[in-house]
C-alpha cells in the first residue's frame, strides 16, 4: 500500500528536476563562496589567536585600516551626495542629454578599475596633464591619499545613483508637488518629503558603495605606489603580505574584509526588507 501521490500543481516541475537544480545551486555556492570564506578564517587562525592579533596590531596593518576608513569616509558621503543629486535631476526634470547622463553614470561599471587608476595617473601624475601645475603648488595626488580617494570615488560613484533612480522614478513626483502647493520651499520639500521617502534606498546604495570603496583593489593599486604605512589600503596590504609569503598575516588582515562582507550582507538584507515594505505601502497607496 502506498499513499496516494500528491497531485502536482500546474506549472510545477517534477520533483527530480527541482531537487537537481537546488542541489546544483547549493554545490556552486559551497565551492565558490562558502569554502573560500571558511578558508580565510581557518588560515588566519591556524597558528592560534595570538599570532592573529599580533598580525592585526602590526603598525603597517593598522595604518592600512586607518587609510581604508579615511578613504571610505570621504568617498562614500561624496557619492551619496552625488547619487542623490543625479537621481533627483534625472527623475524630476526633463532636459536634453538626460539619457547620455544616465549612461555616463554607468561608465565605471563598464570600465576595468585598472583603467580608472591609470586615468588618474594620466591626469594628475608627475607627467600628467595637471601634474606639473599641481607639483608647482605643492599638491601631491598620485602615490598619495588624494589619488586613492579620487580613484575610489570614480569606481564607486554609480552605486547610490543606480539604486535611487529606479526607485524615485517609480515613486513619481506627486508628493513633492503636493508639498510645493502647500507652501513648502525647496529645502523643506527635500528634507521632509523626498529624503524620508528614499531613505532606505539611499542607505542600501550607501552600504554597497561602502563595501566597494573599502574593498577596491585595481584602481587603488595603480595610484597608490604601495608605500607601506602611508598609501596602503587593506586590500593592498593583504597583497603585499601574501607576496612576501607571510600567509598568516595576509589571512588575518583579509579576515577584516571578510567581516566587512558579512556586515554588508546583513545590512543589505535588512535594508532590502525595509525597502520592500516601503514599496508595498507605496503600491497600496495608489492602486492604479
Amino acid at each position: 500500500m502506498s499513499a496516494p501521490a500528491r497531485p502536482r500543481r500546474p506549472g510545477e516541475d517534477p520533483p527530480a528536476v527541482r531537487i537537481a537544480l537546488t542541489a546544483l545551486a547549493l554545490v556552486f555556492l559551497a565551492v565558490l563562496v562558502l569554502v573560500p570564506a571558511a578558508a580565510v578564517v581557518v588560515e588566519a587562525l591556524k597558528d592560534g589567536a595570538g599570532l592573529f592579533w599580533k598580525a592585526l596590531r602590526d603598525p603597517d596593518a593598522l595604518a592600512a585600516v586607518r587609510l581604508t576608513l579615511l578613504v571610505a569616509a570621504i568617498a562614500v558621503p561624496l557619492n551619496a551626495a552625488f547619487g542623490l543629486a543625479a537621481a533627483w535631476s534625472v527623475t524630476r526634470f526633463r532636459f536634453p542629454g538626460k539619457s547620455v547622463l544616465v549612461s555616463l553614470i554607468d561608465l565605471p561599471f563598464g570600465v576595468s578599475p585598472v583603467i580608472s587608476g591609470m586615468v588618474t595617473v594620466l591626469l594628475f601624475g608627475a607627467q600628467g596633464w595637471f601634474g606639473p601645475w599641481l607639483s608647482d603648488h605643492g599638491v601631491k595626488v598620485v602615490f598619495a591619499v588624494p589619488g586613492i580617494v579620487l580613484a575610489t570615488v570614480f569606481v564607486t560613484f554609480p552605486f547610490v545613483a543606480r539604486e535611487l533612480i529606479p526607485f524615485m522614478e517609480a515613486q513619481g513626483t506627486e508628493e513633492e508637488e503636493a508639498a510645493l502647493v502647500l507652501g513648502a520651499g525647496g529645502w523643506q520639500i527635500f528634507r521632509s518629503v523626498t529624503l524620508p521617502n528614499v531613505k532606505w534606498s539611499l542607505l542600501y546604495g550607501v552600504v554597497l558603495c561602502n563595501a566597494r570603496a573599502m574593498g577596491e583593489f585595481g584602481a587603488v593599486s595603480v595610484v597608490s605606489g604601495h608605500i607601506r604605512g602611508v598609501t596602503n589600503t587593506i586590500p593592498l596590504q593583504v597583497e603585499i603580505l601574501y607576496g612576501e609569503y607571510q600567509f598568516r598575516a595576509a589571512f588575518a588582515v583579509a579576515s577584516l574584509l571578510f567581516v566587512l562582507a558579512l556586515v554588508t550582507l546583513v545590512a543589505k538584507k535588512s535594508l532590502e526588507w525595509r525597502q520592500h515594505l516601503a514599496r508595498r505601502e507605496g503600491a497600496r497607496r495608489s492602486p492604479a
Binding site: 506627486e174 508628493e175 508637488e177 503636493a178 508639498a179 510645493l180 502647493v181 502647500l182 507652501g183 513648502a184 520651499g185 523643506q188 521632509s192 518629503v193 524620508p196 521617502n197 516601503a278 505601502e281 507605496g282 497600496r284 497607496r285 495608489s286 492602486p287 492604479a288
Partner: protein
C-alpha cells in the same frame, strides 16, 4: 475668490494641449472641467495651481494677475487623484503640513488640525499612517490637508477617480455639502459626466484643448452647443440627413432646424429616451426591428435596427415597456419627441462615446 482665464495656450513639444482657452469662474462657485482624457482639463488645472506655466495668456485671481507667482505663493488647495499623502507622516501631520512649513505656533496648528479632522470626520484616525486608511478616508485627509491654510481656491484633479463606485457616490454628495458650507471657489476635473452633473454648479466641457460649452448641467444637457457635447453627455442616436432652409430631413421625416443656406448634409441627434416606440405606423415615424431587450432596473434599453440607419437604441421606462410587451424580431415604428440638428461638417464622429451609429 473669482478666477479669470484669458487666452491660455500650452504645448508639450509638438502637442498643443490648450488652444486659446478663456473662462470665468465666479466667486464661491463649484465648476467641473469635463472632457475625455487628453482634452487638456488636467493641464488647465495644473496651470491654475502653478505646477505648469502657460505658453501664452493669463490667469487672474480676483482681478490680480498671478501667472508670475509660483505654486508655493498662490495659496490654492489642490487635491490629487491618487491622494499624494506624505506616506511617512500620520494623518494629523499630513493635515498640519502647510501650517508647519509656515512656522505657525504649535497651539494654532493643533487647533486647526483638530477642526479640520472634525470637518472630514476622521478625528479617530489622527495617529494613523496613510497606508492604514481606505481610499475614501485618504481622499478626505487629502482634502483636509488642502484646506488647512483656508485657501480661497480649491482645485481637485479627478478626486474620486481611484475609488470604487459606492464610495465615489458618498464622497460626491459629501463634497457638495462641504462646498455649500465653505463656499470656497472650486474647480474640479473629471471625465465622468454623472459626477460633474451631481456635484457642480456649472460644467465646462472641453475637447482637444478647447472649451466646447459652458453652462449649468441642465443647459449643457438640454441645449448642447456642438455634436461633441451631444455625444459626450450620454448615449445618442445619429441619423444622416440634410438641411434645406429651416427644415431638416431624414428619409421621409421632417423637423424644424436652424436655418442653413441651400441644401447641406446634416446629422440629426436623438437621445434614447426621446424616441417613442409604436406598434402601428404613425405620421412621421421610421420602421425598425427590435433586436434585443436589455433590462436596466428601472428602465429597459431596446436595441433596434432600421433600414438605412443601422443600430439604434431606445430607453423606455418599465411601465411603457410592459404595455408594449416587445420581443426580439418585432416590427415597430419610431418617432422622435425631440431632435437636435447639427451640420454634418461640425461632427467629428467621436468614437469615445456610445452612440447609435
Amino acid at each position: 475668490m473669482s478666477i479669470e482665464i484669458r487666452g491660455l495656450w500650452k504645448s508639450f513639444g509638438t502637442n498643443t494641449v490648450l488652444k486659446d482657452v478663456s473662462l470665468d469662474v465666479p466667486d464661491g462657485e463649484l465648476v467641473a472641467l469635463l472632457g475625455p482624457s487628453g482634452c487638456g482639463k488636467t493641464t488647465l488645472l495644473r496651470i491654475l495651481a502653478g505646477l505648469e506655466t502657460a505658453d501664452a495668456g493669463d490667469v487672474r485671481h480676483a482681478g490680480e494677475e498671478i501667472s508670475s507667482r509660483s505654486a508655493r505663493e498662490r495659496n490654492v488647495g489642490l487635491v490629487f487623484q491618487h491622494y499624494a499623502l506624505f506616506r511617512h507622516m500620520t494623518v494629523a501631520e499630513n493635515v498640519g503640513f502647510a501650517l508647519r512649513v509656515r512656522k505657525r505656533p504649535k497651539e494654532e496648528i493643533e487647533a486647526r488640525v483638530n477642526e479640520l479632522l472634525a470637518l472630514v470626520q476622521l478625528d479617530a484616525y489622527r495617529a494613523r499612517y496613510p497606508h492604514q486608511l481606505s481610499g475614501g478616508q485618504r481622499q478626505r485627509v487629502a482634502l483636509a490637508r488642502a484646506l488647512a491654510t483656508s485657501p480661497r481656491i480649491l482645485l481637485l484633479d479627478e478626486p474620486f477617480g481611484a475609488l470604487d463606485a459606492r464610495v465615489r457616490q458618498e464622497l460626491r454628495r459629501w463634497l457638495r455639502r462641504l462646498h455649500d458650507e465653505l463656499h470656497v471657489t472650486s474647480v474640479f476635473v473629471t471625465h465622468d459626466q454623472e459626477e460633474a452633473f451631481e456635484v457642480s454648479d456649472r460644467i465646462v466641457l472641453m475637447n482637444q484643448g478647447r472649451i466646447e460649452q459652458v453652462g449649468s448641467p441642465a443647459q449643457v444637457f438640454e441645449e448642447p452647443a456642438s455634436p461633441f457635447v451631444m455625444r459626450f453627455l450620454g448615449a445618442v442616436n445619429v441619423f444622416q440627413g440634410h438641411v434645406e432652409g429651416d427644415r431638416a430631413y431624414v428619409q421621409d421625416l421632417e423637423f424644424a432646424a436652424p436655418g442653413g443656406a441651400g441644401r447641406t448634409p446634416a446629422h440629426v441627434f436623438v437621445r434614447p429616451h426621446e424616441l417613442e416606440i409604436h406598434r402601428a405606423a404613425v405620421p412621421g415615424s421610421l420602421a425598425a426591428t427590435v433586436s434585443r431587450l436589455v433590462p436596466l432596473g428601472a428602465a429597459v434599453r431596446v436595441e433596434l435596427t432600421a433600414a438605412g440607419n443601422g443600430a439604434l437604441e431606445v430607453e423606455l421606462d418599465l411601465r411603457r415597456s410592459e404595455a408594449l410587451a416587445l420581443a426580439p424580431g418585432d416590427r415597430v415604428h419610431l418617432s422622435p419627441r425631440r431632435v437636435r440638428v447639427f451640420p454634418a461638417s461640425a461632427d467629428q464622429g467621436d468614437s469615445l462615446t456610445a452612440s447609435g451609429l
